[in-house]
Amino acid sequence: MALGRTYSVALVGLNGYMVEVEADIGQSLPAFVILGLPDAALNEARERIRSAAKNSGIPLSRRKITANLIPASLPKRGSGFDLAVTMAALRAANDIRATGRTVFIAELGLDGRLRPVRGILPAVMAAVQAGYPDVVVAQANLAEASLVPGATVSGYRTLARLALDFGADPQELALDFEPDDADGDAGAPGETAPCPDMADVSGQGEARRALEVAAAGAHHLLLTGPPGAGKTMLAERLPGILPDLGDHESMEVTAIHSLCGLPSSQVQLLRRPPFENPHHTATAAAIIGGGSGLPRPGAASRAHRGVLFLDEAPEYERRVLDALRQPLESGELVIHRSAGTAAYPARFQLVLAANPCPCGKASGKGLDCTCTPMMRRRYLARMSGPLLDRVDIQLQVERVSLADFGQAGAEEDTASVARRVRDARQRQVQRLGPLGLETNSQVSGRVLRGELRLPPGVTRILDHSLERGILTARGYDRVLRLAWTLADLGLRDSPDANDVGQALGLRQATAAAA
């Protein structure tokens, strides 16, 4: 039979689609044709495959090889199909036995070694979901592919070894070739860099508290304050006090980072919330995702289930900031490009940091500030109202005082704060689970004023503010969300008047940005 059939996976965004690879050997002059919308990298596979097969001792047929990737209408990209096409061509020439429902995902080197490819985790997940649990990958991808539950993954170093296991003639194979693992055998899983400790932050009691509340309720956070007050320092410590990711979340996060190319030392499930800290000159495509052809995930998606920290937020282009409104609402980014549409999850916790004015000195009494009132207003107005509307905690951070600065080491460390946050999250899951929610930040105003309605005595101060026009209706709901988080942190079953008062303080701490 001059027809071979194997399987591989095409990734569109994070979604994998099964691809059937057919290879036919025709009685005609030597040629190698790949059909099914291959991109440049996939078309170059022809040369890689010929060389790899020859150097493995099983040269491809000297006839016309036609490889067809089905479905033909789905654009296929990248070098991950090399192995599937090779195995189909070898099968068509009867050099190996039929491979059944085995899925092949690897790139080939000219010497016949198997090289790792990006996005192996979502690809293997798709294969398992589609009912193809047997997967063959490059040795360097083995650890990552094995993370998928239900998959039977085998890793190989060379095409010759793989062909041997599928019944090629051992006399002909170049089996003594063992590539050195310069391009990364996944060795022992590396420890992720430890998050800096909360104990390093001197003073800043109010800001530390706000950070804890933000972590406990997954509230978005805006920190304004003069340079050197410790805004960046605080934000960097937020991931440390967030709880570990659950199994499902962990897979989502690892899949995105796999697509971006995990460093081989980090091939393990990402259990800690990621932290993304793009520079303020970043373009919309860098934050949201994009690029030519099929869009790739941006910083917002890499921060999925973690923290997206925008330092010097007013320095960002306005359209970049406003582009974040959609993912803040839906937790997902849908990006359209010529080659197709990709949807990436982007449920991140947003942390914004800003100076109070262009010169940065307008804090406290602001006597040193050289900015005009107009400049100050313009500066903070660069963060648009609709964006700030979604930020529950807006806090002013002052310079640390000498008294606080002196007593280093007296502050609480990350571990003990994280413990309180974890307990508060558990209380939220118990309360909100029946409503299909996980954190206080997700609770809608309807639920806040419905199922979770508080007695009038507790909300008196809020009602008063609303009546006097200090607080908008949307602001009212936000204060209620914060109050619930404060109650969860204090291990109370529902907020009391004190919680509501504190919440109002966190919400209103900055008048300038309102």
């Binding site: 009685q27 005609s28 002059l29 030597p30 006839r63």
Partner: protein, 118 residues
């Protein structure tokens, strides 16, 4: 004669012998015109066969079939038409065959044959 021409001649002899075992009738060998040369003209039943023979001592510089590119194929088709004009023949069934001969001098040459290419 140079060595490469001798090898080519030898390969053509082998190819002709092979075609005859298939029952083809050899009409002419090494027909030349201004546009080039046809190695073998043969009759396979009603069909006129324009055969191109490629000979190699080894596969070190690629398979003989790989030496026949699209330009060469197009020229063979033109030469077939030119041969018919020259002989004032009308041959509605005409095809181009390519024959590869690999002979490393060990006494067992390998002949491969592709029918009706291009």
């Amino acid at each position: 004669m140079k060595a490469k021409d001798l090898l080519g001649r030898h390969g053509e002899d082998l190819a002709v012998g092979y075609l005859e075992t298939l029952g083809m009738l050899i009409v002419e060998r090494n027909w030349r015109c201004s546009e080039g040369e046809i190695d073998v003209v043969a009759l396979d039943g009603d069909a006129l066969v324009i055969a191109e023979v490629k000979t190699r001592r080894s596969l070190d510089y690629g398979h003989p079939f790989e030496a026949v590119g699209p330009d060469k194929l197009a020229r063979l088709h033109r030469l077939g038409a030119a041969w018919c004009r020259d002989r004032e023949l009308r041959m509605p069934l005409r095809r181009v065959d390519v024959i590869a001969v690999v002979d490393d001098g060990g006494g067992s040459p390998v002949v491969e044959h592709l029918k009706g290419v291009g």
